[in-house]
Symmetry: C2
Subunit: 469 residues, 2 copies
C-alpha cells in the first residue's frame, strides 16, 4: 500500500468515525476542569485520569504524573523504533477558564451540544470546546485513525498534556526540568492557536509574551461612611483610577517609562506581506460590535493586535458593587493588569517599570501590594524551520488554500519554555477562529474546525514523517 493510499484510508476512517470522535470530545468537555478555582481541583484530576485512559487505548504508554499543582499526562507511542525516525512532542492542556459571568451563557457551560450558529455554521458549544480540549482532541483523534488503519503512527510521538495553562503554568516548567529524559524529541507540536480566517489555515510563527500583575491599593484601616469622611479621607478607587487612567496617552501609546525599549518595527517585507492581508475593522472588529482600532494610532490594526505590545486592565473591583447604592469609601481597591509583550521586551523589566510607575504616583497615606500572575517573554520562531514547511504543505492540501504564516497576539509561554528547558523548536498549528469566544461565555468550536483539524493532523503526521531528520 502506497503512503498516499494509506493516508487516504486514514482520512476516510476519520470521516467514518467522526460521530465517535465527537462523543469522545463531549465526554472530556463534561468534566469541569477549571484550574483557577480550588473548588474544581478534583475535576482537574478527573480530566487528567480520563485523558490518560483514553490515550492508553491508542497503545501509548500513558501515565498521570504529579506536579506541584494539577497533574499532567505523559504518554509515549512506543514504536520500538526510537531514534530511527522523527520524534515529535505534542502539547495541549486539559484545564479551562472559569465560566463567569454564568448568566450570559445560553446553556450550561459543561453540557456540550452541536448547534447552529446564526450564520448556519455547525458549532460545538461548551467551555473548552476550543481552548484547548477541542484542539488537543484533533491531534489525539488523528493518532487514533492512523493506529486503527495502519497499526502504527508515521513517526514517534510523545504527548504531554498539562492542567495549569490557564493559570500561568507555574508548576509546569519545574515538571519539564524533572522529566527531561522522558520528553526528548526532535521538535514540538502545539495545537492552541487559530486559523487566519474560516477558510485559510495558518501556522503561528510569533507569539506575544505576557506579564500579568495584580495591584491592590489600600488607604484607611476600614471602610468609611462617605458623608462623615468624604472630602477628608483618601479614597483608594480615586487613586487607582487616577493611576490606571494615565497609562495611555491621547495617541493610544503606553506612557510607562521604558515600556517600548527594545521594541523593533516590523521588517519591511513582512509589513508589506501583512498589508496585503488587508485586515480591516470591518472584518475584525465589526463581529464584536466595534469599529475603531483602539491601539496606537500610527499603526495598522494587524500590528496593534500581533506585533505591538499592549496593556489591558482585565479586572477591577473596589467598594460597593451590589444592587442599589451605598455611601462607602472603601479601605482598598484592586485591579488585574496584563501586558502583551513583543520580541525585545524583557518581562522582568516591564513588570518593574509598571510597579515603579504605580508606586511613583501613590499619594501619602496609601500603600500598594502587587501579586505576580504570569511572566512570559514573546516568542519569534524561525520562519525557515523545516517541519514548518512540511506542516504548511499538509495544511494547504487539506484546506485547498495556501497556509498563512502569521503572528499571534496571544501568549503561549510553553513555547519559550520548550526552547529553554528541552531545546526544542515548536510548530504551532490550530483551528480556532476569532469568534470562538474563548475565555468568554458561550465558547464554541466550529464542527468543521474539529473535523478538518483531525484530518489536518493526520496529513501533517505523514508530511513530517517524510522530512529528512
Amino acid at each position: 500500500m502506497s503512503d498516499v493510499s494509506q493516508l487516504q484510508k486514514v482520512l476516510d476512517r476519520i470521516d467514518a468515525e467522526f460521530d465517535n470522535s465527537l462523543e469522545r470530545l463531549f465526554a472530556l468537555l463534561r468534566i469541569k476542569s477549571i484550574s483557577a478555582d480550588p473548588a474544581f481541583a478534583a475535576d482537574c484530576r478527573a480530566a487528567a485520569d480520563h485523558l490518560c485512559k483514553d490515550i492508553a487505548t491508542l497503545g501509548f504508554a500513558s501515565e498521570v504524573r504529579p506536579t506541584d499543582g494539577h497533574p499532567a499526562i505523559l504518554a509515549k507511542s512506543n514504536s520500538g523504533r526510537a531514534g530511527k525516525r522523527p520524534h515529535v512532542l505534542f502539547y495541549g492542556h486539559y484545564d479551562v477558564q472559569p465560566v463567569d459571568p454564568l448568566n450570559l451563557w445560553h446553556r450550561p457551560p459543561f453540557d456540550p451540544l452541536v448547534t447552529n450558529h446564526a450564520d448556519g455554521r455547525k458549532i460545538i458549544v461548551a467551555r473548552g470546546a476550543e481552548d484547548d480540549k477541542g484542539q488537543l482532541m484533533t491531534f489525539v483523534e488523528a493518532c487514533r485513525a492512523w493506529k486503527a488503519v495502519t497499526g502504527s503512527l508515521p513517526l514517534d510521538v510523545t504527548i504531554i498534556i498539562e492542567g495549569e495553562e490557564e493559570v500561568g503554568s507555574k508548576n509546569f516548567v519545574p515538571f519539564l526540568e524533572k522529566n527531561k529524559q522522558d520528553l526528548k524529541a526532535d521538535f514540538a507540536l502545539v495545537c492552541d492557536t487559530g486559523m487566519w480566517d474560516p477558510n485559510t489555515p495558518a501556522i503561528t510563527t510569533s507569539l506575544r509574551g505576557l506579564v500579568y500583575d495584580e495591584v491592590k491599593i489600600k488607604a484607611a484601616n476600614r471602610d468609611l461612611h462617605s458623608g462623615i469622611f468624604g472630602g477628608g479621607a483618601q479614597n483608594p478607587i480615586r487613586v487607582l483610577t487616577r493611576i490606571l487612567g494615565s497609562i495611555f496617552d491621547e495617541e493610544g501609546r503606553i506612557t510607562i517609562p521604558g515600556f517600548y525599549d527594545g521594541v523593533k518595527d516590523l521588517p519591511a517585507d513582512i509589513l508589506a506581506q501583512w498589508q496585503k492581508l488587508n485586515l480591516t475593522p470591518e472584518t475584525f472588529l465589526k463581529p464584536i460590535g466595534l469599529s475603531i482600532p483602539a491601539g496606537e494610532k500610527d499603526r495598522l490594526l494587524i500590528e496593534q493586535i500581533s506585533s505591538r505590545p499592549t496593556c489591558d486592565v482585565n479586572g477591577i473591583v473596589g467598594g460597593y458593587t451590589g444592587e442599589g447604592s451605598k455611601t462607602v469609601i472603601p479601605a482598598e481597591a484592586s485591579a488585574k493588569i496584563s501586558f502583551r509583550l513583543v520580541e525585545g521586551q524583557d518581562p522582568d523589566r516591564i513588570r518593574k517599570a509598571f510597579r515603579d510607575y504605580v508606586t511613583a504616583r501613590l499619594p501619602g497615606d496609601c500603600r500598594v501590594e502587587f501579586t505576580e500572575h504570569s511572566n512570559a517573554p514573546a516568542v519569534a520562531l524561525d520562519w525557515n524551520m523545516k517541519p514548518l514547511a512540511a506542516a504548511g504543505r499538509a495544511l494547504t492540501e487539506e484546506w485547498g488554500k495556501e497556509a498563512v504564516l502569521m503572528g499571534s497576539g496571544a501568549s503561549i509561554p510553553i513555547v519559550a519554555d520548550f526552547k529553554r528547558t528541552l531545546g526544542l523548536d515548536t510548530v504551532l498549528v490550530g483551528f480556532g477562529l476569532d469568534d470562538d469566544n474563548i475565555h468568554s461565555p458561550n465558547e464554541k468550536y466550529d464542527l468543521r474546525s474539529f473535523h478538518k483539524g483531525i484530518r489536518s493532523w493526520a496529513r501533517i503526521l505523514a508530511s513530517l514523517a517524510e522530512q529528512p531528520r
Copy 2:
C-alpha cells in the same frame, strides 16, 4: 409633683429599666432589614411589624402603612389635647446597610452583643446598632419612660419610621404627600446624626446634599480574549478609569465644569468658630489609619468634611475579579459615584454636569448608561430656631458640656423633604460617634450613647414642652 422632680423620676426610671431597653434594641437588631437587597424584603416587613407593635405598647395609635417600597410606621400619641401644646414629628429609619464584606466582621452582624472596645468603652456591636436602630430607639425608650412614670408625654408626638433611607427614600416623599394630614406638627425631630466628640453633644444645623449616580460603560458585544483582541479592541475599564481618574486635579479640586458654581465661602464668624474647634488630622484621621487630608489643599480639614462639596467613587467593578488571573477584555465596566453637595448647588445641575463630563470623554465605539440613585440638596437650618435652643439646653444639662452647633458632611435628604412637603423645620440630634463604623463592618454604638441618648431625649421632650408655641 414639680416638673423638675417629675423629670428626675423619668431619668431614674430610664436608669433602672436600662437592661430592658437594651433587650428591646437587641430584638430589633436581630431583624435583617437590609433595604438594598430584594432578598431581605420580608425582613424589612418584619422590622416594621415589630416596631409598630412595640410602639403600640406605649399607648400610641400605631400602624404599618404601605409605600411603593418597604412599608413605613406611623404612630400618634393620642393625648386628646391636640393643638393645646407643642406637637413634634419624630423621624427614624428601620432599614440598614448591606453587610458585605462579611468576612471582615468579627461576629455575625445580626447577632448583637455588648462587648468591650479596645480602649475599654462598652459598645453594642451589630449592623444598625447606631444607624439608625440604636438612635431611633433612644427616642422610643425616652417616650416609654415618660409614659411609665407620668402616664403621658410632655407634648404631642407623632412618630414616623421609614424603611428605605439607605436606598434613597424614593418612595417616602410620595408617602409624605399622601399622608400630609396625619403628619401635621410644629417641627420635626430626627435622630440620625452624631456628637461632636464622645463627651460633647451636638445639634446638626447643616447637612450636605447627595447626588448618587451609577455609570456603566459598554464597548464590545461580549467579553474578549486579550491575546486575540488586545491592542485592537477598546477596553471599557481603560475608558472608565481614564474618565474617573481625571475628576480631581493636583490641588484636590473637582474638575467637572460648573461643579463649584454657587458654592459660597463660610461666613467669617463661623469659620473663626470652626477654627477654634481645632479639628486636626491627629484626632480625625489617625483613628482610621490616615494622616493627610485628601480634599482641596487650600481648605481646613473641617471645611473639607462639612462645608465643601466632594466626589467619591463608592464602588467600581469590571472584568475578572475572582482568584488568580483571566486574560479578558470585558464588554462593560461600571462605577457608583456620589457627590456631597453644599448650599447653593443644585442636584439636577450637578448630575447633568457629571453626565456631560463623562459623555464628552467617551471615545468612539463606547456607550454609556446612567442610573440615578439619590438626589438631595444640601440643607442649612436656621441657627436661631427656638426649639433648637431648647434642645441645646437639655443636651448641655445631660452631658455637662455645652452642646455644639455643627455642620455635618453627611446627607439626610428627609430634612429637605419635611420642609418642602410638610413645611416643617427639623432639629437634628444624635449620639453617633465618628468611630461607629456605620455602613462598614463591625458597626457599633457606644453603650453610653444609647443610655445617655435616652436620657437626653427625656430631657429634650421636657425642655421643648416649656417652649412658647
